[in-house]
């Protein structure tokens, strides 16, 4: 028997499925071999699992920073970075070296400790949130019964960190950015959580692995009317939570230079970027988990591919749509942003909850569709049209004088 078989109790499981957990198991086995106390074994196991997640997502961050630039470049008919290494593959390394070697400037009026702590506090919650997401059938860094709650709880820490950064910089643009960030994040947290409620109702669990398990066999939540509606709300709110275009007001560079990051330089600045990208991974990961079936393969025949690869494939798709949106849309204004949250997203998120309830009550099927589709579609059309009418005039007239 191979080491793997010994570790996982039989050849029935396909080895690559276990690959991400291999370091953890190896460390645990080694420690058990030397009669280490049980608590130390599990502690070391957690440490290694965490290290795996950190390593994976830090390299993903580096890769994404390159991919984002390449994709945006292509959208804009440019080539993107292609000088550092083959296809620009070493660009993240070059960026990293640049960021590390740059002078760290702290403004004279800054609260130096908070100024230092803010970038760290941006990264840590994103990392914590990444810890509860099930990446594969067997790859769940931390199996928490209240995983979803934990995710949202640590997510709110980001707001504090952003405000800390803005306030501690002792400067005006960061302050404006921080105030924007707080109002935006608080407003969009609501639709984010409310739209997840339907999933919790249907699953009956706050545990993320359970939510994924419930969606097996293409019973993805997004393929139900209430799920689609909730997914839409969640996706839009997640863009705002991740401070991405078109909701990137806190760092709206054409208005307030770089918002809360204006007074940062060097590695602290890089940490903000890292936090932002990790946050994007986390929120996209949660989106996949809640609505896109998590690590589930779309078709039964495709299960030969390891589940964690499925997860990352979906992650690529979700993140690409973020990039695509960034390459297309202008930024909204703060009052429009707020109005959209309170008058469109939150009512819709609230409506998905009874819709999910009705869906469960009826048990899906054609009747479920017939009842819930109008229940959701009509409010969507009405709300967005009202919103659109407020934003966009119905007609415009231009005359031509000879």
């Amino acid at each position: 028997m191979s080491l793997l078989d010994m570790a996982y109790g039989g050849p029935s499981l396909w080895a690559p499925e276990w690959l991400p957990r291999l370091p953890q198991r190896v460390v645990e086995m080694l420690l058990q071999h030397y009669d280490t106390p049980e608590w130390l074994v599990s502690l070391a196991g957690f440490a290694v699992a965490a290290a795996t997640v950190v390593a994976v997502f830090l390299s993903a961050f580096a890769l994404l920073s390159l991919i984002e630039r390449k994709t945006l470049a292509r959208i804009q008919n440019r080539l993107g970075p292609n000088r550092a290494g083959w296809f620009g593959i070493l660009q993240p390394v070059a960026d990293g070296i640049k960021m590390l070697t740059k002078e760290d400037i702290v403004p004279a009026k800054a609260e130096w400790f908070l100024h230092l702590a803010a970038p760290v506090l941006i990264v840590v919650p994103a990392m914590l949130a990444l810890g509860v997401i099930p990446y594969g059938r067997e790859w769940v860094p931390v199996r928490l019964e209240l995983g979803l709650l934990f995710f949202f709880a640590v997510g709110t820490l980001t707001e504090m960190a952003v405000f800390m950064a803005g306030w501690a910089s002792g400067s005006k643009f960061p302050m404006l950015g921080a105030m924007r960030a707080i109002s935006q994040m608080v407003s969009y947290e609501l639709p984010l959580i409310l739209s997840a409620l339907g999933v919790i109702m249907v699953t009956g669990s706050l545990s993320l692995p359970d939510i994924v398990a419930k969606q097996e066999g293409l019973h993805w939540n997004v393929l139900t009317p209430w799920g689609l509606s909730a997914a839409l709300v969640f996706f839009i709110a997640s863009i705002a939570e991740a401070n991405r275009c078109p909701f990137d007001l806190p760092e709206g560079e054409s208005e307030i230079v770089a918002g809360h990051m204006t007074e940062y330089s060097g590695f602290k600045y890089a940490l903000f970027f890292m936090g932002e990208y990790l946050g994007l991974f986390a929120i996209s990961g949660l989106f996949i988990t809640l609505f896109l079936g998590g690590w589930q393969a779309p078709l039964p025949g495709l299960t030969v591919i390891p589940t964690w690869l499925w997860f990352f494939a979906k992650l690529v798709v979700v993140i690409f749509s973020h990039l695509w949106i960034r390459g297309t849309f202008p930024r909204v204004r703060i009052d429009q942003l707020m109005r959209f949250a309170w008058l469109c997203l939150i009512p819709m998120a609230l409506l998905t909850i009874p819709a999910a309830g009705i869906w469960v009550l009826i048990g899906g099927g054609l009747l479920g569709w017939l009842v819930t589709v109008p229940l959701l579609l009509i409010p969507w059309v009405v709300l967005t049209t009202i919103h659109n009418r407020r934003l966009a005039p119905q007609t415009r007239t231009y005359t031509f004088a000879d």
Binding site: T397, T399, A401, D402
Partner: protein, 237 residues
């Protein structure tokens, strides 16, 4: 001259469309804008004399091919004249396009460019600063009506009343002339330097302005400049 009304297009009416609106002023549309001939300028002048006899507006002829003749207005009556030109319905000079400042250290030269009529008094003995306004009428589509106003001298009395209250477009242009020529526009709401920095003291567009030689040393093929730079920057000697 018929005055086409720019506001008269009924844009909101759903029935109006191409070709149905009456053309307001004949086939040509409107009088093409041209510099007013001395005759019509003279009639305008006559009306000005009638309406504002105290203003002392005189005609100045432009000897060049452009033939844009101008009206010289006493600075003390400039605002009245402009208000009259703007508010009289069949004049309607509602658009102040351009404000130019000119420095005339030699007053005789000023009279070669804007020639006074026979027998009229020539410019004062001392040099002066001149402000030239180009007025247009967007409704009547005529112009430019050139107005000139001259200060008493180039020193403390270089004052001309501001036109900002009548033509908002003069706001930045008057600030610019104040900055670069040193004409004080009395009544300007916010008369500060605009292009030069606040601490700057001289008026660079005046003819007798001497540029400071406090620029950085830089090798150049021009020996004179080089020498000057070397004199100024001892480290290069």
């Amino acid at each position: 001259m018929t005055a086409p009304d720019r506001n008269s297009m009924d844009r909101e009416s759903p029935d109006s469309h191409a070709g149905e609106l009456p053309s307001q002023s004949g086939e040509a549309g409107f009088t093409a804008l041209q510099s007013e001939s001395p005759d019509s300028l003279a009639s305008l002048l006559a009306r000005l004399h009638d309406a504002l006899p105290q203003a002392g507006v005189t005609l100045r002829t432009n000897p060049g091919p452009a033939a844009q003749h101008s009206l010289l207005v006493e600075p003390t009556h400039l605002t009245e004249v402009c208000r009259f030109l703007r508010d009289t319905p069949d004049m309607a000079f509602d658009f102040l396009s351009n404000v130019t400042g000119v420095d005339w250290p030699d007053p005789a030269k000023a009279d070669t460019v804007a020639v006074p009529a026979e027998g009229e008094a020539n410019a004062s003995a001392s040099g002066f600063l001149e402000v030239i306004y180009h007025l247009y009428s967007t409704t009547r589509r005529v112009g430019p009506l050139v107005l000139r106003a001259r200060t008493a001298d180039r020193g403390d009395n270089a004052k001309i009343p501001s036109l900002v209250a009548i033509y908002r477009s003069a706001e930045f242009q008057e600030r610019e002339i104040f900055d670069l020529f040193g004409v004080e526009f009395t009544g300007h709401p916010d008369l500060r330097r605009i292009l030069m920095w606040d601490e700057f003291t001289d008026h660079p567009m005046r003819k007798d302005y001497v540029a400071p030689d406090d620029y950085e040393y830089e090798p150049t093929p021009h020996d004179a400049v080089l020498e000057k730079a070397k004199r100024h920057d001892p480290s290069q000697q």
